[in-house]
Amino acid sequence: MSVRLGLMALLAEGDSYGARLRSDFEERTGGTWPLNVGQVYTTLERLVRDGLVEQAGEPDAEGRIAYRLTPAGRAELAGWWTTPVDRTSTPRDELTIKLALAVTAPGVDVERVVQAQRTSTLRQLRDLTRLKRDALDRAEGTAEGTHDTGNGLAWLLVLENLVFAAEAEVRWLDHVESVLARHARERRTREDHDTPDDGTAADPEHDHAGAAPAHREGTHA
């Protein structure tokens, strides 16, 4: 997704000029993608160069230039709506990389890494839920008669996307934790079988898989 296509989608709704495109873009995306006006004008210039957007008449009294989509621009936008977003690229998310490294890095308590992340993500989820609740309250308020431009709905959908993403991350962390716990259990079982009776058992300090031993009474973390 580029700012380019976002601006084209707005222009498909009617001619507009730079400053208004900027504020519309931010409002419609719930402020999750702030733009500066220079970025908007640079993008518009490129769209004009590529024949996707053109100037709509002369500047107005305040010197503002309105833009509109060309037929080629409309065709490109139509293609964008119907083309699935590519999600097949290799993940480069910091958390994924961090945990992948933590599992094998010596001296890293993976369980703590997972728990710290989960706490942070749950907190984020709670804050998003508060924003969502406000948005729902506002939506109900507008349903009772006040003017709604549809932006409330757009904002709610952006929030829900973030809620789903945070929820998926918590589920993934739960999964990581249970896989590590199972792995640690299996390894302990193997070690119990392999341990000779001379007391040279594996050193638990080197349990880099990180999952804590099963709870035994009196052992407080």
């Binding site: 402020g31 706490t119 993500t121 989820l125 804050d127 508060r130 609740r133 409330g152 709870h215 407080h220």
Partner: protein, 242 residues
């Protein structure tokens, strides 16, 4: 901040003996203030339900204390404990537990009638609670005439009818679809915003997110708690359209 309504202090609960000995709760402490909803999360077998049962006086701790509204549960006679449970707290379960042969209003009135209140007065209190929760349109319906979400909202009304100010909810959204589940959580949240203390057990992060705090249990121990609220408006560059 206000005085906590619920104080769980250094509670340990051990089931079984010797070889079968299981520590379900291990030195758990938790406070819930009026107006606060606390969610408990954790893997299965982590002690979530035991914590809820201990907090609600349905189970007694092996050591440690639980007090509700200043009364220590362990010091009460069984009779007084039952009375305190009837008058001061309400339970919400996954499967609603409404009586099929009673209307919504009669179901909500039931705990008050069982506590000795006259039927007419109890019905009036029930209707007041239903009205408060925007559920008056359901008052004459029987459980089989209501959706799962409506039944659960009536169950919350029943849990909080009269003067009860502590609600304990065990996976209240477990039998509901995601959207309806959230509607139920919203109702619970509103009740807490009105001053009720709430304890919610859930395995769904999206539902725990309606709480003020999430307590995370593992192997009977509190391993983490999401702290005080951040400023939600700072979370994103803007708070969305005004």
């Amino acid at each position: 901040m206000s005085t906590p309504h619920v104080v769980i202090s250094d509670v340990t609960r051990v089931h079984g003996h010797d070889e079968t000995r299981v520590v379900a709760l291990d030195h758990v402490s938790l406070e819930i203030h009026p107006g606060e909803l606390v969610a408990v999360m954790g893997p299965s077998g982590s002690g979530k339900s035991t914590l809820l049962n201990v907090a609600g006086g349905l189970d007694a701790p092996t050591s440690g204390t639980v007090s509700i509204g200043g009364e220590t549960l362990g010091s009460l006679s069984p009779r007084d404990l039952a009375k305190l449970r009837r008058r001061r707290m309400g339970f919400v379960f996954q499967d609603y537990n409404l009586i099929p042969s009673l209307t919504a209003a009669e179901n909500v009135a039931l705990p008050l009638e069982l506590d000795g209140m006259r039927a007419r007065q109890a019905r009036r209190a029930a209707r007041h609670t239903l009205d408060l929760m925007d559920l008056m349109s359901l008052s004459d319906r029987y459980p089989d005439q209501m959706s799962g979400g409506q039944q659960q909202r009536v169950a919350i009304a029943r849990a909080l009818v009269g003067s009860r100010r502590f609600v304990l909810a065990d996976e209240p959204t477990g039998a509901l679809d995601s959207h309806t589940g959230e509607e139920v959580l919203r109702v619970l949240r509103e009740r807490c915003d009105d001053g009720v203390a709430g304890l919610l057990v859930t395995h769904e992060a999206r539902h725990a997110a309606w709480a003020d705090r999430v307590v995370f249990l593992r192997d009977g121990r509190v391993v983490d708690t999401t702290g005080a609220a951040d400023d939600a408006e700072d979370l994103l560059a803007s708070g969305g359209p005004r």
